[in-house]
């Protein structure tokens, strides 16, 4: 159990800045997921906490102790690597127990602890095998066992699930969360997979170009994205983002001359903004008619996913996606009507990309009982 505190931590390789000075406080026992596209500096951040990478500036403390000058082994962290990094010439038992061997723990105690860890991971029958004789999921488990054996204060996961197939990934995800809850250590999990982030995290740290875009619970990050980047990065399909200008009479005007009437818009007229609407926050067709915000987009094709479908088209001369009921086949030639509540709209400053808070008055939304509105009521 240990808090982790980063203050003004930065990293640059020569003249390339990978991580800009950032502050982050992680509570003891928390499960933090660092989410971002490849090259955003998330792995570097993790490796700096582990001590595998020197920090170029700032300070890191773990459990109230500044660890900047400490070797990885002295920091009380354990790490699960993306490629597992198992020692190919050692058996599973030796791999798991290597840290204990280095620490000088005797053979009998080592064996006992290795067996205990193997039992919690379901590896009992595999202790004498080599990594090459294991499946991907089993290797992953061995890597986790190797991290667990020293009962570390902090678990660091560097995209540990990205080499597994889809089904195993879901299974291991659940196991990782279960282990975290049982071991009560602080976990930091780096991934580019938003589903992993949403399902695992107590809090998500969204990173882009070495900068923290937002820190928040999965619900906060999804429902109130702090920046245009977060809005576009989270959600599948991603949020529709359309450049607009705030009009004078409660409308948003678009570059192609069309406009969308938004009751309760508060941003000052003339301000350049980006409008964001989640595909799943919209109702289409006849159901759109009783929503306060209504528009129409040109339907191009429909992607069927089973229970739902995605209607792809164009709105205000930009690509536009709406989630629609699975039975929708094709749209009318005059376009597909969509509607949503004003609270489902997100406005971002076009210059800074930051969210404009209270841009739309929540009170303007009439009470509705539709599912979309219910999910939007979180905020």
């Amino acid at each position: 159990m240990a808090d982790i505190s980063l203050s003004r931590v930065a990293k640059s390789f020569g003249r390339t800045t990978v991580v800009r000075p950032l502050d982050l406080d992680i509570r003891s026992g928390e499960f933090i997921v660092v989410l971002g596209p490849s090259g955003c500096g998330k792995s570097t951040l993790l490796r700096m906490i582990a001590g595998l990478e020197e920090i170029s500036g700032g300070s890191i403390s773990i459990g109230g102790r500044v660890v900047d000058a400490l070797e990885p082994r002295e920091r009380g962290c354990a790490m699960v690597f993306q490629n597992y990094a198992l020692y190919p010439h050692m058996t599973v038992a030796d791999n798991i127990g290597y840290a204990l061997k280095v620490a000088g723990v005797g053979r009998t105690e080592r064996r006992a602890r290795v067996e205990a860890v193997a039992a919690t991971l379901g590896l009992e029958g595999l202790l004498d095998r080599r990594p090459a004789q294991l499946s991907g999921g089993q290797r992953q488990r061995v890597a986790m066992g190797r991290a667990m054996i020293r009962s570390p204060q902090v678990f660091l996961f560097d995209e540990p699930l990205s080499n597994l197939d889809a089904k195993l990934r879901v299974q291991m995800r659940i196991e990782i969360r279960r282990l975290h809850d049982r071991l009560a250590a602080t976990s930091i999990f780096v991934t580019h997979d938003q589903v992993e982030a949403m399902t695992l995290a107590d809090r998500i740290v969204v990173l882009d170009a070495g900068r923290i875009e937002q820190v928040g619970t999965p619900s906060e990050v999804y429902h109130r994205p702090a920046t245009r980047f977060v809005a576009g990065f989270l959600g599948s399909p991603p949020m529709n983002l359309i450049d607009a200008t705030v009009g004078s009479d409660g409308t948003l005007e678009f570059a192609d001359g069309s406009a969308l009437s938004v009751p309760g818009v508060r941003a000052e007229p003339g301000r350049a903004v980006t409008l964001g609407i989640r595909p799943e926050a919209m109702a289409v067709g006849a159901m759109a008619l009783d929503r306060p915000v209504q528009g129409r987009f040109a339907l191009e094709f429909v992607e069927h996913l089973g229970p739902t479908a995605l209607a792809h088209g164009r709105f205000a001369d930009a690509a536009f996606v709406a989630q629609v009921p699975g039975e929708l086949r094709t749209g009318a030639t005059e376009g597909l009507a969509f509607g949503c509540d004003p609270t489902a709209l997100h406005l971002f400053d076009r210059e800074t990309g930051r969210r404009i808070d209270d841009a739309i008055a929540a009170g303007a939304a009439p009470a509705t009982t539709s599912v979309e509105a219910a999910s939007a009521e979180h905020h």
Partner: protein, 304 residues
């Protein structure tokens, strides 16, 4: 790819058979010559049917060249060089690949350049150093004026002498450094994933533990390959042992062979020279047969 090409098969097999004959024929001739008596071995052409004096010739060669002692010398020399090279090159490559220190690239290129300076090229300075290992230090002291100072003020004449001639150390040490081995290891170490080193760091293993617990076991094929090559190379060395061992007690088997080869005007006992050759060849043959599998694996690919 499986194809039925009978003609091509026949041609390739013929070429293979020819190659085999070309490779094996000299050995056969040596073996046959070693089995004839003095008269038959000097017939022109030499009869290609083995004669009946094989054991007799072998015994003569063994005794005349004192091969018991010389083979032991050769063995110590070749093993010393092989393992010395394995250790030195593994450590050098480890330093070059895994550590960032100033002058790393300079060092790497310096080692690279030594590829162009084989023993034969630097034989005189190497001999000078072997004759007096402290010679270069003496030179430095002379240049710095320390010798002069000592002689004038303390009345002591500094003359550092430590010779390695006629010793195993003198035979082995100058041949131990190897650029080829360093490169072999460097290439292998570069294929070892960085994450392995990082995992070892997280497990608390320092650089020395990582080297012995992870890198060395992983490179056992390379060790086998390098040790085999270098054993054969050292066994066949002629020039260096000839220079360093003036005293026959430290001579190697290959040098002693020379004494079996008939002098001009002497009795042309080629049968005994060939018998000696067979004996000296035998250990290397054994090493190749035993180590072949490892040897090929170590050179061809890294273990999956």
């Amino acid at each position: 790819m499986i194809e039925r090409t009978p003609v091509l098969d026949a041609v390739t097999h013929t070429i293979l058979a020819l190659g085999f004959v070309v490779a094996v024929a000299p050995f056969l001739v040596v073996g046959i010559a070693a089995s004839h008596d003095l008269f038959h071995v000097n017939l022109v052409p030499m009869p290609l049917v083995p004669g009946g004096h094989f054991v007799e010739n072998m015994t003569a060669a063994w005794i005349r060249a004192d091969l018991g002692v010389k083979l032991l010398n050769s063995l110590i020399f070749a093993l010393g060089v092989a393992f010395g090279k394995v250790i030195v090159s593994a450590l050098t490559a480890y330093a070059i690949v895994y550590f960032r220190f100033p002058g790393r690239h300079l060092l790497f290129w310096a080692i690279f350049v030594t590829l162009m300076l084989p023993l034969e090229v630097r034989i005189v300075p190497t001999y000078a150093v072997a004759a007096n290992v402290l010679g270069p230090w003496q030179g430095i002291l002379d240049i710095l004026g320390v010798t002069w100072l000592a002689e004038h003020f303390a009345g002591v004449r500094l003359d550092l002498q430590f010779g390695l001639l006629n010793s195993y150390a003198g035979l082995i040490l100058p041949l131990v450094a190897t650029a080829t081995g360093t490169f072999l290891y460097r290439q292998f170490f570069l294929t070892v994933p960085d994450e392995l080193a990082e995992a070892a760091k997280m497990d608390g293993a320092g650089p020395i533990r990582f080297f012995f617990d992870v890198l060395l076991p992983l490179s056992r094929n390379n060790i086998a390959a390098l040790a085999t090559i270098m054993f054969l190379w050292a066994w066949n060395q002629y020039l260096w042992p000839l220079l360093v061992t003036t005293d026959p007690s430290h001579a190697t088997a290959v040098i002693e062979l020379k004494r079996l080869i008939p002098n001009e005007g002497g009795i042309p006992e080629w049968n005994i020279a060939m018998a000696g050759t067979l004996i000296v060849m035998l250990p290397t043959l054994l090493v190749v047969v035993v180590m072949q599998r490892w040897f090929v694996r170590g050179l061809v690919a890294t273990e999956k």
